[in-house]
């Protein structure tokens, strides 16, 4: 099964917001040799009882099925949804991108940021920190462009995702 082509899948996992739950999820991926491309986690309920974990993973379809079944088996997991299979969904991530430079490079950085609707959230006379959000491709592209004009460092959130339409998971 492992020789089938890999696919990228975005999984939404609703879990009890209890100590160690993230370790269970992440440990399952490492113990069984599954991939994690990105991972985000935050408390999403009113009463702080439920967290939502978004994992971007890749593997052949049978392996993706196994990942979902294995996740589903964990006691504190409420629901696992394969957004990629589920249908139309929105994926976004946010990055903070630090760029240092003076003169023309600095002006160019600001101009490119404007095109990407990236906002400066910190400014010195010799640097900017831009906040950029959007699809993974857009963030990748912005970072690639910033390399040309003095990229210093990047912090990214990883993907968060939600299904389109009125329905909840």
């Amino acid at each position: 099964m492992k020789h089938l082509p890999s696919e990228r899948h975005t999984l939404s996992i609703l879990v009890d917001n209890e100590a160690g739950v993230l370790a269970r999820i992440v440990g399952l991926f490492s113990a069984r040799g599954y991939n994690i491309d990105s991972l985000t986690v935050a408390d999403v309920s009113n009463d702080h009882a439920v967290s939502r974990i978004t994992v971007v993973t890749n593997g052949p379809p049978p392996v993706i099925d196994q990942i979902i079944a294995q996740l589903d088996r964990l006691v504190p997991v409420h629901r696992v949804l394969d957004l990629t299979d589920h249908g139309p969904h929105v994926e976004r991530e946010m990055a903070l991108v630090k760029v240092a430079g003076t003169g023309e490079k600095r002006v160019e950085a600001l101009r490119l940021a404007d095109i990407f609707r990236a906002r400066p959230v910190d400014t010195t006379t010799a640097s900017f920190v831009f906040e950029v959000s959007g699809s993974t491709e857009k963030v990748d592209q912005f970072i690639a462009l910033m390399r040309e004009v003095g990229l210093v460092e990047v912090a990214r959130t990883g993907v968060v995702a939600i299904a389109r339409g009125a329905e909840a998971v």
Binding site: M1, A19, A31, D72, R73, V75
Partner: protein
Amino acid sequence: MAAEMTGAEIVVQALADQGVEVIFGYPGGAVLPIYDALHQQQRIRHILVRHEQAAVHAAEGYARSSGKVGVVLVTSGPGATNAVTGITDAMMDSVPLVVLTGQVPTHLIGTDAFQECDTIGITRHCSKHNYLVKDTARLGAVLHEAFHIARSGRPGPVVIDIPKDIQIFRAKYEKPAQVTHKTYKPQVKGDRAAIEAAVEMLAAAERPIFYTGGGIINSGPVASQLLRELAKLTGAPVTSTLMGLGCFPAGHPQFLGMLGMHGSYEANMAMNRCDLMVCLGARFDDRVTGRLDAFSPNSKKIHVDIDRSSFNKTVRVDLAVLGDVGSVLEDMIKLWRARAHKPQDMEQWWSDIRGWRARDSFGFEQKGAALLPQHAIRRLYEMTRDKKPIISTEVGQHQMWAAQHFGFHEPNKWLTSGGLGTMGYGLPAAIGAQLAHPGALVIDIAGEASIQMNIQELGTATQYRLPVKVFVINNEYMGMVRQWQELNHGSRYSESYSDSLPDFVKLAEAYGWKGIVIEGPDDLDAGIAAMLAHDGPVFVDCRVAKLANCFPMIPSGAAHTDMILEGDGARPDAADEDARALV
């Protein structure tokens, strides 16, 4: 209004409320309050083992032979880490356990305190679920939830780590009416449409086979009865995994014996040639499938399992039925009857099976001065079968010979470490089984190497006057290691000789057991009879042929059709590099 109790008292009360009669454990600093609470009550009997690993195996033996949840109590640090092998063993073989571990007081957690270890971190992936209880008021609810999780769905071990201060603090405790969990709700009843499809496939099959496993044992004795009924209705042959032995009676004309690496020729050939495989509570383990791309290439496959993650894990199936195998079997039988199905003509299928059976793949001939291990086990079976013994084993050749040559007729009579393959399992498991069944004949069929991995438990049996029998198949080798070295490593027996063996009879006597030596075929029956005649624990050192190999055997990475049979002669170093890399 519930009265306030200490955490330790809550633990004992909750265990009693769960109907627990026996627990297996070993005291230490971080569980002293619980031991103190145990000391002041009469309802729960504590069995003091000699090593925490054995406490877990004993609880496994207790659980597997009785269908109840096994309970373990150990201290923090080394107590918990010693228990890890047993917990992992129970996880692999789906044995319901609740393991209570002491922990350093909450304010010392994370400070590398004396006998501190990250029990929750260590057991997270070798338990079905685990808890660190940081509030005495939660302790009762957690205990009841743990039993619910351990015994429902696919059973498994649940660990509860209890810091010492939580055992001392007071809180109210009330016995819960019914335990439910907000996210954990295993599906017991199979989907109607899937069961209909399964019955139709079964009715249309010309070469069907039931491939049955430990799930049938875990489902309860009724599932074994239902399997017998469905087999009768359909006329299909039945094979069983190592873990499933006993769910279908040995010697029944429809039973093909165990399948897999050391399974019968007819079972493996029938799996290869069937047109419909109905997998009931088994999991397509690598010891069963052999080479995956050659595994039953032309069959449709139905898989009934309570654990969704078992579906399509290694073998793609055509129809998956999620649910308890007993419940699904019941629905299948009802539907088969309601639709008045008649099986297809299987004369050709059974004729093929008779042909494979005629190879007599478990056959052996006892001649000469050296006692064949197969013969020893066969005689042990013949001389004890009327007593319906419970058999445990260690791990290795003797385990496979026991699976091949000891006949099992009922569920819960066969205790063996299948998934993890844990040497040292058998003696403590026999002790646990004997406690669950005080009047039963319980025999640990062991090897001289495995038995030494938990031999200190001879003392436990003595202390509690448990008349367990240990029957050591002594060939002075770690036989299965030696066999693999013969087949794959040019007969270079690297470190597989059991040197400096103790005088087992003297050792047994030192522990207050009776010791017996069987030197050869001539004193086999007398030795077994003497073992059975003694009403206390007996250790039998049965000296067998040193270089016997366990056949049939599907070499690692080979197909079912590539079995090596006894008399084929070993093919030393036949395995290529890829095959040698497999376990």
